[in-house]
C-alpha cells in the first residue's frame, strides 16, 4: 500500500515545530495519500491545508453547523470533529469527489437547477449529506429530507430550495440512464 501512496510534503503540513507526528495513509476521492501529521490535526484541516481540497469548509467550532461534512467510509460525518489519524487506512470523499471526469453528479446538477445555494458556503457539506441520504433512500419525503440535513445549517436559502434540489436529484437518479452509458 505504501509503495503506491502519494506522499504529501512536510512543508505543506500543519505540524508545529517540535510536535510528535505519526504517518497516516488516507484515500481521498479515490487517491491514496501518505503524510506525517500530529494527532491533533483535524481531518478538515488535513483536507484543506495538506491536500489543498478547500471545498470542505469550516463554519463553527462546536460541531453544530455541518459545513465540514465529508464521507468517511461512505457515511457523512463532520470532519471538524474527526482526527486525521482516525481516518488512517480509510476512505474519505469530499465535494471535489462528487463530479466524475468533470461531469456533475445528480446532486450537484440538482442544486444548480433548483437554486439550492446562494453564498455557497454550506453547500459542499449539504451536498455530501444529500448524496449519502439518496444512496440509502432515493425517494425521501420532505420530512425525511429535512431530518437528514438537520445537521447542516444554512443561513441564506431558508432550506426550501435545498429540499427541492435533493428530491429532484433523487428522482433523477431513479430514471434509467439516457442511452449510452452510466450516470
Amino acid at each position: 500500500m505504501a509503495a503506491t501512496a502519494r506522499p504529501v510534503t512536510p512543508a505543506a503540513s500543519l505540524t508545529t515545530a517540535g510536535g510528535t507526528t505519526t504517518r497516516i495513509h488516507i484515500t481521498v476521492n479515490g487517491e491514496l495519500y501518505s503524510a506525517e501529521v500530529e494527532p491533533r490535526t483535524l481531518l478538515v484541516y488535513f483536507l484543506r491545508e495538506v491536500l489543498g481540497l478547500t471545498g470542505t469548509h469550516v463554519g463553527c467550532d462546536t460541531t453544530n453547523c455541518g459545513a465540514c461534512t465529508v464521507h468517511l467510509d461512505g457515511r457523512p460525518v463532520k470532519s471538524c470533529t474527526v482526527l486525521a489519524v482516525q481516518a488512517n487506512g480509510r476512505q474519505v470523499r469530499t465535494v471535489e469527489g462528487l463530479e466524475v471526469g468533470g461531469k456533475l453528479s445528480p446532486v450537484q446538477q440538482a442544486f444548480y437547477e433548483e437554486h439550492g445555494l446562494q453564498c455557497g458556503f454550506c453547500t459542499p457539506g449539504m451536498m455530501m449529506t444529500a448524496t449519502a441520504l439518496l444512496a440509502r433512500n432515493p425517494n425521501p419525503s420532505d420530512a425525511e429530507v429535512r431530518d437528514a440535513i438537520r445537521g447542516n445549517l444554512c443561513r441564506c436559502t431558508g432550506y426550501v430550495n435545498i429540499v427541492k434540489a435533493i428530491k429532484a436529484a433523487g428522482k433523477k437518479m431513479q430514471e434509467p440512464p439516457a442511452g449510452g452509458g452510466g450516470a
Binding site: 491533533r40 457523512p76 463532520k78 470533529t81 437528514a148 445537521g151
Partner: protein, 291 residues
C-alpha cells in the same frame, strides 16, 4: 477551534486499552465517537494529555440478543440503533431516543458507549437505561465488573467508570409479554439539549394492570434521574390515564431542574411531568400491541 497537543494510541484489544489507561493513571481519556470529547478539547475546556482511541478494537460494535439480554457493544454507532429492526420491534424506546439525539452526522460517529458514559444530564440514553433497568459491563485492570444503571450516574460528568476502566457493553433485559417502552424529549430546537425528556417502560398483566415499570428523566437534574417513586406509584394500578397522570406528577416531584438557557426550573419541572405522561401513554399503547 484547535485542540492542545496530546499523545495518541489506537490499541487493537480491550486489554491493550486498559493497559494504556493504567499506564497513564487517569491522565488518559478514551476516544470513542469523539463527539463529546473533541468539542471540549477544541474549546480548550478539556486537555487530556493522552487519548486512547478504542475504535480499532474489533468486536466492540454489535446489537444482539443473547442469554436473555439485549447486548449492545460500546462502540456501536448511535445511527446503528436507528437502523436496527430488532430495536424498533422490541425496544422502541431506543429507536425513539436515537432519532432525537443530536443530528444524523453526529450519530454516524457518536457511540452508545459515549452517550451512556459521558455523564451529561442532557444525554438521552441514560434515561432509557434507567427506565429499562440496564446494566453496564466494564473492563479494568482488576478484571470485568457490571454496574446497574441505577447506580451508575453519580454527578454531572461523573459516572461509576474509574479512570483506568472502560465500558465494553450495555445489557438490557429482553422484553416480556405486554411490555411497552417509549422515549421523548422536548427541546428549543432539534438537536439541542433537552428542556426535559422522559423514558418509560411498562409491563401490563392481562387485565391491564401495571406489573412492572421504569422511568428515567433527561435534563432535569445533575444527572439523568431515576424516577423510582413514580414507577412505584404505577405498580398494581390500572394503566388508565388518571393513574398515568398521577405517576407523571410524582415524577415531576422527583425532578431537580435548574434554571438555565433551556428554561426556568419551574417550567422544566412541569415538563418532566408532561413528558412522563406522554411516554407512559405511548408505552402503554405499545404494551397493548399498538405503535
Amino acid at each position: 477551534m484547535i485542540p492542545p497537543e496530546f499523545e495518541y494510541y489506537a490499541p487493537t484489544s480491550v486489554d491493550d486499552a486498559i493497559a494504556l489507561l493504567s499506564r497513564f493513571n487517569g491522565e488518559a481519556k478514551v476516544l470513542a465517537g469523539g463527539h463529546s470529547l473533541l468539542p471540549l478539547m477544541k474549546l480548550r475546556l478539556a486537555s487530556p494529555s493522552v487519548l486512547v482511541d478504542i475504535n480499532r478494537i474489533p468486536g466492540l460494535s454489535y446489537i444482539k440478543e443473547e442469554g436473555g439480554h439485549l447486548k449492545i457493544g460500546a462502540t456501536t454507532r448511535t445511527n446503528d440503533l436507528l437502523d436496527s429492526t430488532l430495536l424498533r420491534k422490541s425496544y422502541p424506546i431506543l429507536t425513539d431516543a436515537a432519532h432525537e439525539i443530536a443530528d444524523p452526522l453526529v450519530r454516524n460517529l457518536g457511540t452508545v458507549g459515549g452517550n451512556v458514559c459521558h455523564g451529561d444530564p442532557g444525554n438521552d440514553l441514560p434515561a432509557c437505561m434507567l427506565a429499562l433497568g440496564g446494566v453496564f459491563a466494564l473492563a479494568g485492570p482488576d478484571g470485568a465488573r457490571t454496574v446497574p444503571a441505577s447506580e451508575f450516574y453519580k454527578d454531572t460528568f461523573v459516572t461509576a467508570v474509574g479512570p483506568t476502566e472502560m465500558l465494553v457493553e450495555v445489557r438490557i433485559p429482553q422484553p416480556v409479554a405486554r411490555q411497552g417502552t417509549a422515549y421523548h424529549k422536548i427541546e428549543k430546537r432539534i438537536g439541542d439539549f433537552a428542556m426535559a425528556g422522559a423514558g418509560a417502560r411498562v409491563v401490563l398483566d392481562e387485565s391491564g394492570k401495571v406489573t412492572a415499570a421504569g422511568i428515567g428523566l433527561t435534563g432535569v437534574g445533575a444527572t439523568a434521574i431515576h424516577a423510582t417513586k413514580a414507577a412505584a406509584a404505577l405498580l398494581g394500578q390500572p394503566a388508565d390515564d388518571a393513574h398515568l397522570q398521577q405517576a407523571a406528577l410524582v415524577a415531576q416531584g422527583e425532578s431537580q431542574p435548574v434554571s438555565d438557557l433551556r428554561g426556568p426550573a419551574e417550567y422544566k419541572r412541569a415538563m418532566a411531568g408532561v413528558l412522563t405522561h406522554r411516554v407512559l401513554v405511548r408505552a402503554v399503547a405499545r404494551a397493548k400491541g399498538g405503535a
